[in-house]
Point group: D2
């Protein structure tokens, strides 16, 4: 039985807390910490049977019974908390991204490398039943040698403009999941990025210096080409599709809905929209990723999403951003070199 | 090159005439006959390049250059015209049903049996791409030993009450295609029928002594059970589905639409309705059946739908009718015996 | 917080125990009882945090802190335990069927009727996302007036012959779920049944006096006709489909799979098989039904599946059995009258 | 009735000849010409009822009864034949592309512009039922303002290396259809192209100076972004999909198969592969495009694919080629300027 502490009990912290209580029999949340702890979050913790609620996360790091922490605080705290937790001897599950600043990610990687502790980044889609089925088909050689990888990722609604301003931009905030998915499905590294970005959803997003619609082409080390299309708003719901095409075939996944009921009437043959957003669509993926993290600790195996898996998509995201700014393809090497990687 | 005469140039006669000109290169329509020949039908014949237009079908039967006739007259004329045409030495393609009266069908069978001429009944669905794919899967052993056969057949709109009155009832008029399909897909004979009929579409159909909705269960000689569901009105269009389930698997077909375009929006994910009705849905099947008939003449092979295939569904239809009237399962033997078959 | 006791901790008892711990926050399992309690079941109970494990269910009934019991014992114990539990003042959730003997079910109904306690029968499919979507569409009037209801229900593999012998026959053991579903989806009562049964899976099932394949036609009080097709073995997995057709449209559900991944290659375009069997397919339905039961207790509302809902499908099942035996349609009234109902 | 002459009776010439005889009632092929006329092509012409067969196309141009010609000769002859035919006063249907050389296309445009004759280019997909359904949905405003357009176009097998060498390269030979489709579906012009090409099918294609796999990103004047993915070989058949995503929804089309039969067995749930290649998939589109051309002549309306529609995709193709060669996005203006357009 692994004792876990959760730092940050906003939306995603609570998702993880509930997932552990329901689906991770070999772990329990012993304590949560949040500087903005209030009646609501204390009541939630109580209802989950969590013993301790702190405003100061250091109490979690100081508890010798706690072996692992989940970092669910705001993005700017991810890297310092990661380092402090590892130095306190805790295994770390850190929400994505580790940071928007590559230098800070490098520091985390260095600290992790020197420790014997597990570090996992919250790229939850790797633990989704559909994406896993694609990965397994590719890994089993069912589609032969990869040629084209396609990912469609469209959110049902844009975040607030306040969030957009601190998000790091669409590529580091939203596409980062798709960059991870390209790496995961292909098992290969991205070498070059060309991105086209536009503002077609809300001019305010453009005024905030970001784009809300993007098509990104990626060259891969294995010779395949990947293409991602994103939009911050899709009126029919969260559109999450992927396809890997190769010399022996093609594997593709489509959207999940609340039910597969289809109504035929004088207007047509109508199925349900895709599930609304990530909390609905990836609920079990959130549970599976934490379970996988706990299993990695128990069995002393590598985590499925390690610290380098946290770094690479950020490099790709920075290349995509530069590509839009400069209207040219940008190599990952160019970005990596600039950080001495 | 086979010279063909068409007797009756109403809707279905013209469908066959056009099919032959477009899709049957080894046949040409030399003459048509219709007692109600008018400017419109003469203009149609001319546009098709048909040489002769008669009001008297006997002129077709008397033409030594014509080897085959298509009987597309009203149902009550099917059996006498069949007999007269065969006796005139013509191969015969006869629209379904041969007759509603088993004794008249017997006469046709007798005449056909004594001749060496080809006789084909217009069960067009046997020549449809989807139903053929089911037949081929079953015949190839892909589903193993048959256990359950299901057919859904729903019309987009009911016929006129005038038509209902002379139609012979839903089982002889509409379900007869499904009875044929059960025989065709299974390659087996029906032994017993239980039918439930109701009036859920239009009370006037009930007043005309018919039902408009039915579920028919059929026991087959090969041990399988078939079930057909019918309705005279389906607001979403012509619903034509089938499924054969067996010890090794299940093969199923769904509806065809004008395009496979799907629109996702805030209301759902909507595909097109099925094609409207039989002329749209089975246009190529009409062409294929006539082509198959001409090929059978040219190659001196058995037709795909012979005279007995015209008889059996009528026996099943009469059993279904009796089953509804008497509220009990009725064997085909009971019906056959009553006609000395 | 409702304290629950579970009587019988075989497969389904444990499913409910785990569901409560994961998904029913307002209930906890305080005790379990099973005459065959062993190390394995005690360890399971401990892992679930269940305080008490008894061999004698009477200890559960005697515990004043326990408000509700789940009866998951063998079928022959369902009715006596139901009566005893109600008489002990407990709300009862009873696995289906209440009994195979209508007289025993009547006794339960009488006892329930005199109490103010909740009684729910384990027809779990009512709580499945797909079947609920059909029910909601029908109830919302989206398909107009019902005309035809179709249910396909095929198991991936037959039970053991030993089980078949005590199962009460396919209609009371397997089809009973489909009878319940017809009543649930239609919101109407069945008036007459005609069933065809055959042995196409395993001759030993026939030798045990049962059939393994069946097609059942049901007349409904609302004028619609329902048809169910069953088989004890489907090589492609658990086939669970339904369709309600009406004057304004048709609503249909298909199978669920572990993922929606589709592989296209030289052999075709292949999707995954349906989920294997009921534990996989209906896991969330089991959770939802217990949650609904607990909510009914807390809010003092009617349960979604009451004692009469437990009785009616048994009457339909007995009618189906008689129909096969006597080769004729059998009314529910005939069965009900024979029991003085 | 329009009299038509066909110049070139190779594969596509015969497709058009047969389409006209079957599906274009208001046209007839009076003559065909082919320098390589042989017994086989003469027999074909005879079977089609075509009066005249020439080796010299000038005889067609000289026939005052022939109002329109279909140019189905080799690509290098498209532009000179177009010019000569127009100058001879004939309406022209020209197979795609008009030429690979922009200057030669310009000459054709000039000659066409000075005439009052109809000119149509053979972009057959505009006349396909699925692509038309997308166009109609977009044009009807059903998806709102366009944001992302996606086209997948993969051939079942690569052409011969000999063909590759004279094909003008993948962008002018294969993608040109997709460039046309982007213009057609969007109703907008392409402004900039970025293309990634690779050799993943056959190294000999690379040695011939071409690529066999490509992902092309296109900026559109209307603010949308389009992305096309191509491969010269898809083991599961001809993959022809498209999708237009906008502010109010998304319309998508998938592949057509010979039948919609689905077989479920222990290996999965398997549908048929897409239709093999363009002759199967677009047979009706070939008929529709010629019918549309004849209708434009008869009704004196603009053709659906005019001479400029023949020019623009060539400019886009040249931009794509340059983009791969120089590893940068290329504007259409850059290409157009270089030709003084």
């Amino acid at each position: 039985m692994i004792n876990v502490g959760i730092i940050g009990v906003g939306r995603i912290g609570r998702v993880h807390g509930e997932s552990i209580s329901k689906f991770v029999p070999n772990a329990r949340v012993k304590a949560v910490a949040d500087p903005f702890l209030n009646d609501n979050s204390i009541a939630w913790a109580k209802s989950m049977g969590i013993e301790e609620t702190y405003t100061d996360y250091k109490k979690i790091l100081a508890d010798p019974e706690i072996q692992a922490v989940l970092i669910c605080a705001s993005t700017d705290m991810h890297s310092p908390l990661s380092i402090e937790a590892i130095q306190a001897g805790k295994h770390v599950f850190c929400e994505k991204p580790i940071d928007h600043d590559v230098n800070k990610i490098k520091e985390v990687l260095d600290v992790v490398a020197k420790s014997r502790l597990k570090y996992q980044v919250g790229f939850n889609r790797r633990f989704d039943h559909n994406f896993k089925a694609v990965k397994e088909a590719v890994a089993a050689g069912k589609i032969g040698k990869q040629q084209i990888i396609k990912i469609t990722s469209r959110d049902p609604e844009p975040p607030s403009i306040d969030y957009v301003k601190v998000s790091g931009g669409i590529f580091l905030d939203m596409t980062i999941h798709d960059f991870d998915m390209v790496r995961y499905l292909s098992g290969s590294e991205v070498t070059e990025v060309y991105a086209v970005g536009s503002v077609t959803v809300d001019p305010a997003i453009g005024e905030a210096g970001d784009v809300d619609t993007a098509v990104i082409t990626l060259k891969l080390a294995n010779g395949a080409t990947a293409v991602i299309d994103n939009c911050r708003q899709s009126v029919y719901g969260y559109d999450q599709r992927a396809e890997v095409f190769g010399t022996e075939g093609c594997v593709a996944i489509s959207n999940d809905s609340d039910s597969n009921a289809v109504i035929s009437n004088k207007d047509g043959v109508t199925a349900e929209k895709p599930m609304f957003f990530f909390l609905e669509r990836y609920m079990m993926a959130y549970a599976n990723e934490v379970k996988s993290f706990v299993d990695a600790i128990e069995n002393d195996t590598e985590t499925i999403v390690n610290a380098n898996d946290g770094l690479q998509p950020v490099l790709i995201g920075l290349a995509a951003k530069k590509s839009v700014e400069e209207g040219r393809p940008v190599t990952i090497k160019e970005i990596a070199d600039s950080y001495g990687l």
